[in-house]
């Protein structure tokens, strides 16, 4: 157990280091940040001084050394635009993103599990084919476009929900969340729905494929021979076995949701880290981009860690090594 955690910790450090190299190399491409720092009417001298202060005259290796050492010290730099620590900006906006990502994942699971189980248990039925065709449409459409269509129909035409922004928030365990009030929830529903569609469609296909495989197993027939009803056979004996491979892709899906949240948040003017990233890219706000990358990488590692533990919880044959 101890060895496992040590290994994981080393892995986290390696991933973060790799990302830091990647970020640094990429940022060296994006051109000179000096002009972001100095006033428009700065003199040559002022610019040269700024360059010196930023360490841009040093060799790349030295620059990377500075970059890395400030990261290690927990100094992730300040946003050029907001004049605030970049990490603080990310953390402020994180709850908003987590809110739609988690709700989207919940919607996807709640809808995809019954549909996928059904389509996998009776793959030849016309309704199963319809489910599959629907899921193929789901993975074929651009999510941001779907969001726009939803905005047009439900916000512009029917005026059932607001078209953009985050509603009022309440404090919950020190995080500001919006799903506690009706008005907040009304703001939340369209973005979460939009974000969920792609994941939902993929989940249906994965669950169906796994269920089809599981339904061929002897223990399913044995369960039927025991006299279990269809629900018991499918959900007790079938689904749990089908979920094991699903756990593997769970991490990837969370990653995709966070990635696509950039688009969803942009459409709905949702003040999360995705919109912050897109805005920062427009403004060339380099420190924020760097922190976003590092932070998201860190989140992925943590999610994969959770996935490993989930594995051991679901499958008794696997021991946490």
């Amino acid at each position: 157990m101890f060895g496992y955690f040590t290994k994981r910790l080393i892995q986290i450090v390696v991933v973060l280091w790799a990302v830091s190299v990647l970020v640094f190399v990429m940022m060296s491409f994006t051109g000179d940040p000096t002009y972001m720092m100095v006033p428009l009417d700065a003199t040559e001298e002022q610019i040269a001084q700024a360059r010196r202060l930023l360490g841009l005259n040093d060799s790349h290796l030295v620059q990377y050394g500075h970059f890395l050492s400030s990261l290690v010290r927990g100094d992730f730099g300040r946003s050029f635009v907001f004049r605030q620590p970049a990490m603080q900006l990310i953390l402020e906006r994180l709850p908003a993103t987590l809110e739609i990502v988690i709700l989207a994942m919940a919607i996807a699971l709640v809808v995809a599990i019954p549909l996928g189980v059904y389509a996998g248990a009776s793959p030849e039925r016309a309704s199963s084919h319809a489910v599959m065709a629907g899921s193929l449409v789901g993975i074929s459409l651009p999510g941001f476009w779907l969001g726009m269509v939803l905005i047009y129909v439900f916000a512009v035409k029917l005026q059932l929900v607001p078209s953009s922004g985050r509603g009022p928030t309440q404090e919950l365990f020190g995080l500001r969340v919006s799903f506690l009030s009706w008005e907040g929830f009304r703001h939340l529903i369209l973005p979460a729905l939009t974000l969920s569609v792609g994941t939902l469609a993929i989940l249906i296909r994965i669950i169906r494929a796994e269920m089809m495989e599981v339904m061929k197993q002897d223990y399913i027939k044995f369960a039927r021979a025991k006299g279990a009803d269809r629900r018991g056979v499918l959900f007790k004996h079938g689904l749990k076995n089908a979920l094991i491979p699903l756990v593997t892709v769970f991490g990837l899906m969370m990653g995709d949701l966070i990635a696509f949240a950039t688009l969803t948040e942009t459409i709905f003017a949702w003040p999360g880290i995705g919109k912050l990233l897109v805005d920062s890219i427009y403004r060339g706000d380099r420190p924020v981009i760097v922190v976003y990358l590092m932070f998201v990488a860190f989140m992925f590692v943590v999610v994969n860690f959770v996935v490993d533990i989930l594995y051991a919880v679901i499958d008794p044959r696997i021991k946490v090594k």
Partner: protein, 290 residues
């Protein structure tokens, strides 16, 4: 033998309704992008042909629609259908070319890694692992934020995220093929490595790539659309379908839905067709691949 496989594939294709539908959609788009520009009345990027008077015309079946503009016009009086025809060319070109590039790059790296093994192998595969743990859209978005807009830069970004999947597949099958006797025999007979790889290994690892390549064209079209929608994809001078959606988004709240909805529908249609074909090929060529 090959002809037989081809005819077998063709046979099951003829009996697979969704594969036929997929092929029909793809064929329709191929026709549209190749001869479409001669069929539509207007070159939407020739300012001389635009009538500002005709701006914001709704589709023909709505009140105020004009037969001249089947799917309506945008704020500059650009025919939406014509924009879609021209935009599809860009979207499909980027999707297809990026797939080809990824395939060539990935297959080459996979062959090298699988055939030579050792340090080269572990470096290539380590990079692949790290990339795979990051969503493609996000990686492409970062690359574009560093590169700036442009179709060529979109291609580079897509290839940078797309090669990984080929490299992994090709490396795996190369490892398997290299163990087989015919490769061993070729090695013993002193054939140069380059010839062994190209003549003996490569042809035997290609089949699984066809499925991945097909589906990837669709994925790339979607990623390109996302990038362009965020404003870091193609420039305004060569608008893909994704950029058309972005342009329409600004006026959506005024109720002018057709400018953004139709380009999106066309994206959905082409990717759907590609996915239908990809599903069919997967079932036929390598049923194990999920």
């Amino acid at each position: 033998m090959k002809r037989f496989a081809a005819s077998e594939l063709f046979h099951s294709f003829r009996h697979n309704r969704s594969a036929m539908i997929g092929a029909a959609i793809v064929a329709m788009f191929v026709v549209m992008v190749s001869i479409g520009p001669w069929l539509v009345a207007q070159d939407p990027y020739d300012v001389a042909q635009l009538e500002l008077m005709d701006s914001f015309k709704p589709p023909v079946w709505l009140e105020g629609g004009v037969p001249q503009y089947l799917l309506g016009t945008d704020g500059q009086g650009r025919d939406v259908l014509a924009s879609i025809v021209y935009g599809s060319r860009i979207s499909l070109f980027i999707g297809f070319t990026a797939m080809l590039g990824s395939c060539v790059l990935g297959a080459a790296l996979g062959l090298l890694a699988g055939f030579y093994g050792g340090k080269l192998d572990s470096v290539i595969m380590r990079i692949a692992d790290i990339q795979l743990s990051f969503p493609s859209v996000l990686t492409a978005l970062f690359l574009m934020s560093a590169f700036g807009t442009g179709a060529d830069k979109v291609l580079i970004a897509l290839i940078s995220v797309g090669w990984v999947v080929y490299a992994r597949i090709v490396r795996g099958s190369t490892l398997r093929e290299s163990q087989k006797e015919y490769v061993q025999a070729a090695r013993v007979s002193g054939l140069p490595n380059r010839k062994i790889i190209l003549r003996h290994v490569l042809p035997n690892v290609l089949t699984p790539l066809i499925v991945v390549a097909t589906i990837q064209v669709g994925t790339f079209i979607l990623i390109e659309a996302s990038l362009s929608f965020l404003g870091v994809g193609v420039p305004i001078t060569e608008p893909s379908l994704g950029l058309l959606i972005k342009n329409g988004f600004d006026v959506l709240f005024s109720g002018l839905w057709w400018i953004s909805v139709f380009p999106g529908l066309f994206i959905m249609l082409i990717v759907f067709g590609i996915n239908l074909l990809g599903d069919f090929l997967r079932d036929e060529l390598n049923p194990r691949l999920k």
